[in-house]
Amino acid sequence: MTDTPKAEHEAEFDFFLARARMAVPADHRATVVAGWADFRAQLDLLHTRRDATHEPSNIFRVKGVAR
């Protein structure tokens, strides 16, 4: 994500905003756009584990602390 041009980040976030039928108030926009790349990188991290250990049928089951 760090190599993605800033304009692409901004365009991507604007796509998600439009899909949600939302508009960022002008006084919040700079802050929101500035933090988006960091958030996007964390989402990307969720999709990096794809070996057999992480196959969905090995992960979903009724067991745990309280769920």
Partner: protein
């Protein structure tokens, strides 16, 4: 200042007739009057209600009625706990006129137990957005140095307890909002096991990560508060019908023979970790070894996975709660709150599914580790409390506490203070344990409290 008398000692004096609840309450109100103007811990003081509660408690003691360990003891609640007839704002412009008709379960349990409610405490907006100066109330300040943040989101709870205005206050913890402020303010802060304490009536941030718990001066006070609020609630979907043990029974048993793992890579390789925090953890490890515990480094999945998993789930669930207001009243949120919530619009079903799969994997990894170890010793905050100006840039505010791993997995975790830096700010560690074994977590925390000499550390007297 002295640390004051413990909840247990105050209870003994109330029952012996050597003090009264009115006297305890008037002393607390006087300290609030002298200290809160500099610390902004309270957003609402319930003075009349407190004195009424106190007079009732004294009358009940005189009549031989004993409602339990918090009977007649002053306490306060983070302003996301619904309180019947008392404004509950979530520190937000969006809820300035909200007066609940019904108590949250926790508020009701304290009321039924005869505790004295002093008031409602500052929070980061909706338990996420802060510290911030663009909200209806000022941010709470750190009683050790008011130029520094008290942590959040249970900021007012930490400031009130840390300054001695109240011995125990309730906070909430979705990613570390009890343990972070406890670390910054030299307090004990407990996030119980997910499902141990009902969240019904507490404004949610993220329903599968939210926990209710106390911040207090000592481990014993913490155990007493947990005893009062723990228990099954059929109307909280996450509440678990598990036995509630006596959390005080094992407090003084020490740590001899216990096995404690240190997931060192989590904090030692973190870019933000200060050497003094790492050294403090090593000192605690040494103290625990000297007291007979077996303490070893262990390896868990990398911390960034816990953080990414927790943030995706938190942001998604919080967005679901606030979606309508984000669309219709966006300018009524503070800037930090808005930024943290709006990213939820970009989380896809695939993102959330990946986070849920990862959550199971990470929970299994911690469970597996705790088959061989009784508890884990790690950092809570990676640095002492930062100054306000370093926190006001919302793009730079993250990454300095390491607490969300146990919100993701649901395991009980406690922040314990251990020492004060040369700059005069407290440091501490975090202990996490097996699900439903808060008793062991409290037992180790109590040992650390004694071994570290924290009980002899003078607390801040002025703000």
């Amino acid at each position: 200042m002295s640390k004051g008398i413990s909840i247990a000692e105050a209870g003994r004096q109330l029952r012996a007739g050597t003090t009264t609840s009115v006297a305890l309450t008037e002393a607390a109100l006087a300290r609030i009057a002298s200290h809160d103007p500099a610390l902004d811990a309270f957003v609402l003081l319930t003075r009349d209600r407190a004195l009424e509660d106190a007079r009732r408690a004294d009358a009940e003691f005189a009549g031989g009625i004993d409602r339990g360990p918090m009977h007649g003891i002053p306490h306060a609640l983070k302003d996301i706990y619904a309180t019947a007839g008392i404004r509950t704002t979530c520190h937000s412009k969006l809820r300035l006129d909200v007066v609940p008709e019904v108590d949250s379960v926790v508020a009701a349990k304290f009321a039924a137990g005869g505790a004295v409610l002093l008031g409602k405490l500052a929070t980061h907006e909706f338990a996420t957005g802060g510290p911030s100066f663009d909200l209806p109330f000022p941010p709470a300040r750190n009683p050790w140095n008011r130029a520094h943040v008290p942590g959040g989101s249970s900021s007012g709870s930490a400031a009130a307890v840390g300054s001695g205005m109240v011995r125990m206050a309730m906070g909430s913890d979705t990613g570390g909002s009890i343990r972070g402020p406890a670390s910054y303010c030299g307090l004990v802060g407990l996030k119980p096991t997910y499902g141990r304490v009902s969240r019904r009536g507490v404004f949610p941030l993220s329903t599968t990560l939210d926990h209710c718990g106390p911040l207090s001066i000592s481990v014993e006070d913490t155990a007493i508060a947990l005893q009062v609020v723990a228990g099954f609630d059929a109307l909280d979907a996450a509440s678990a019908d598990m036995p509630v043990p006596d959390f005080l029974a094992d407090l003084e048993k020490g740590v001899a023979g216990l096995r404690i793992g240190i997931p060192r890579a989590h904090f030692a390789t973190a870019r933000a970790a200060s050497p003094e925090v790492i050294a403090a953890i090593d000192r605690v490890a040494g103290l625990l070894r000297s007291a007979g515990a077996i303490v070893e480094d262990v390896t868990l999945p990398e911390y960034q996975l816990f953080a990414a998993c927790g943030r995706a789930i938190l942001t998604s669930e919080a967005f679901g709660i606030h979606e309508a207001d984000l669309r219709e009243r966006p300018s009524d949120f503070g800037a930090i709150t808005y930024q943290r919530l709006i990213y939820g619009c970009a989380i896809t079903s695939a993102d959330l599914l990946a986070a849920q799969r990862l959550r199971r994997e990470l929970t299994d990894a911690v469970d597996a580790m705790l088959e061989n170890y009784d508890a884990l010793l790690t950092a809570s905050s990676l640095i002492p409390a930062p100054r306000f100006e370093t926190m006001l840039d919302p793009t730079a505010a993250g990454g300095v506490i390491q607490t969300i791993q146990f919100n993701v997995t649901g395991h009980p975790a406690i922040a314990v203070p251990t020492e004060v830096t040369p700059a005069g700010l407290p440091l501490g560690v975090q202990i996490a344990g097996r699900a439903w074994d808060e008793a062991c977590v409290l037992r180790i925390a109590r040992a650390i409290e004694k071994l570290s000499g924290w009980e002899d550390v003078a607390r801040p007297d002025t703000a």
